[in-house]
């Protein structure tokens, strides 16, 4: 009986997958590159033999939306978004903000650990990643690449009303990318290293490094007029820094008794307040207490933050 149900379900899912394949692809986003050979993202793939196993029917029924998320999203949702269970990853938070800012429909799949099926999707095993059925189940990872892709895709689909998240002006784009590079290669290592430092004699030097990194952002707000990094419009430059800034403010206050001074960082503090009012940012943020508890765990295990903790 179970096997029969399993078979019917498989056929039902296959039919859904095939019939919706044509109707749900938004116009204009179809890829013009040679299509990959089928196998990934369709039920004809290797996973079919898994589905036939005894416990697999329960597994399928326990999965979201009644389909196997290891293969692909419900075809009625254009994009599948992979994030950590609990939503604490600041990199994935960036992409979540972008989804909400652009109003793009998506489906969330939470990952914990590095299960094999996820390594086949993102060989680096990290989040965020996105998978796009409308573009032949293309997989994209690394937060900045996901975010730029979503903006490119949105703008291609809405040529008369492109999003301001990533403007068309070459200089502004370069500025945004430079700010994001600063966030990733200068600010976040400085933050994690200072936060995880247990050697009191080194605290001041590390704090100095962090403040130098923050000065870059304060200056950008000054130079380009604010209130956002690119000026009047909220862009990927704001998105990219926000989840880190939130964690930094909360954990440094709680664990290092350090707060950013109004005197040194008036614009940056105003920027943070303004951004925190945006719905997309609220959805992607975690309450202070959750951040404090999570970061206590990091402290206890001497977490390396993927190499960003330079201690």
């Amino acid at each position: 009986m179970k096997a029969f149900l399993g078979l019917s379900l498989i056929f039902a899912l296959e039919i859904i997958q095939q019939s919706t394949a044509l109707t749900f692809y938004p116009r204009g986003s179809r890829s013009r590159v040679p299509r990959r050979p089928t196998g990934e993202g369709t039920l004809q793939s290797r996973d079919k033999k898994n589905i036939m196993d005894a416990g697999s029917l329960e597994r399928i029924l326990a999965l979201k939306g009644g389909y196997d998320s290891t293969i692909g999203p419900d075809p009625s949702n254009p994009i599948q978004f992979f994030t950590l269970a609990g939503g604490m990853c600041p990199y994935a938070a960036r992409t979540l903000i972008v989804f909400h800012e652009l109003g793009l429909p998506f489906e969330t799949v939470e990952i914990s650990g590095k299960p094999d099926w996820y390594l086949q999707i993102n060989p680096r095993g990290k989040v965020p990643a996105i998978r796009v059925p409308a573009d032949n189940n293309e997989v994209i990872y690394e937060s900045s690449i996901c975010d730029e892709y979503l903006c490119d895709m949105y703008n291609n689909m809405n040529q008369d009303s492109t999003s301001t998240l990533m403007p068309n002006d070459p200089i502004q784009r370069a500025r945004i990318r430079l700010l994001n590079d600063q966030t990733d290669t200068v600010l976040s290592p400085a933050f994690f290293t200072y936060f995880m430092n247990n050697n009191d004699t080194k605290d001041e030097e590390m704090l100095q490094k962090l403040e130098n990194a923050l000065n870059f952002f304060e200056n950008a707000l000054k130079t380009y007029g604010g209130p956002y990094f690119n000026g009047l419009e909220f862009t990927l430059a704001d998105v990219h820094l926000l989840p880190f800034f939130l964690r930094m403010v909360v954990t440094l206050r709680h664990y290092k008794k350090y707060t950013l001074s109004e005197e040194k960082y008036p614009r940056l503090l105003k920027w943070f307040e303004l951004c925190s009012e945006r719905n997309s940012v609220k959805v992607a943020s975690k309450p202070d207490q959750v951040i404090i508890e999570t970061y206590k765990k990091f402290k206890d295990m001497n977490y390396k933050f993927g190499g960003l903790n330079k201690n």
Binding site: V132, I140, I145, P170, A174, R177, L178
Partner: protein, 259 residues
């Protein structure tokens, strides 16, 4: 006063800005030995954008250059027609140049196509080059413990397979297919140095059976004018790398051997 400033080139003060009749000032190392700067030089030639070269050197870099690029590295570009805006980091410079041609000059360019998926693929390949592949090249090259050589060569080959697979998937001859893009020029300067330095110091060559497409790709890229004009010849690569070997160079952290 014209001619009196030591850094005057083309009749203007390079510390201040390019002659406004030159759209772009490109900062690189003397002799253009830097592979990151070579990426941007290839881009400039491919796009046919007129520019002026300023060579900069020093450890540390001179103060006037640190005011231009606070990180003190090359490449950097400065654009007089855009209020002397400065852009640095090779990937950001190269995307800027492509955006500049598309949106400011309103001309078609194919180094960075407009298709969203292709752009994501290019950026992913370039991220792979910078964050996964390049350290395997330098760690192998600089390894002094011969017992580890085979493992390190394997690590490097595994990292390179991503490129061989990209060529298979797209059909080649370039990473994204028919068109030479930012993905090809991003790794090219590193492959040039890899081929010469690993042959010279490790007696190593990329195996033909594993990397037949990549080797074809490499030969094809070497025929491009932009690449010929921007490359060092083999003898020069060896001379430059001899200095790195003598100094047990860290390659900015990409050499992951413990000293």
């Amino acid at each position: 006063m014209k001619g009196s400033h030591p850094l005057q080139m083309g009749g203007y003060d390079a510390t201040v800005g390019a002659d406004p009749s030159t759209p772009l000032q490109f900062f690189t190392l003397p002799g253009n030995t830097c592979p990151y700067a070579q990426r941007t030089l290839i881009t400039l030639y491919e796009l046919g954008i007129p520019f002026d070269i300023t060579e900069v050197s020093g450890r540390p870099m001179p103060d006037w250059y640190l005011k231009i690029n606070p990180r003190g590295k090359v490449p950097a570009i400065r654009i007089p027609t855009c209020d002397y805006e400065v852009v640095y980091e090779s990937a950001i410079c190269n995307e800027f140049l492509c955006d500049y041609v598309t949106f400011t000059l309103n001309k078609h360019q194919e180094l960075m196509p407009q298709d969203a998926v292709m752009r994501a693929r290019i950026r992913l390949l370039n991220d792979h080059c910078d964050n996964i592949f390049s350290k395997t090249q330098f760690t192998y090259l600089m390894n002094k413990d011969t017992d580890r050589d085979i493992q390190l060569a394997n690590d490097m080959e595994e990292a390179l397979m991503v490129y061989e697979e990209a060529l298979e998937k797209s059909g080649g001859p370039y990473f994204l297919g028919n068109q030479f893009t930012l993905a090809d020029l991003h790794i090219l300067p590193f492959i040039q140095r890899l081929v010469v330095s690993l042959r010279h110091w490790k007696g190593y060559s990329l195996p033909q059976d594993k990397f037949s497409r990549l080797l074809d790709w490499f030969s094809l890229c070497l025929e491009r004018e932009s690449v010929k004009k921007s490359s060092m010849d083999d003898e020069k690569i060896i001379r430059v790398y001899q200095r790195f070997m003598d100094a047990n160079y860290s390659f900015g952290g990409l050499n992951q051997n413990k000293t």
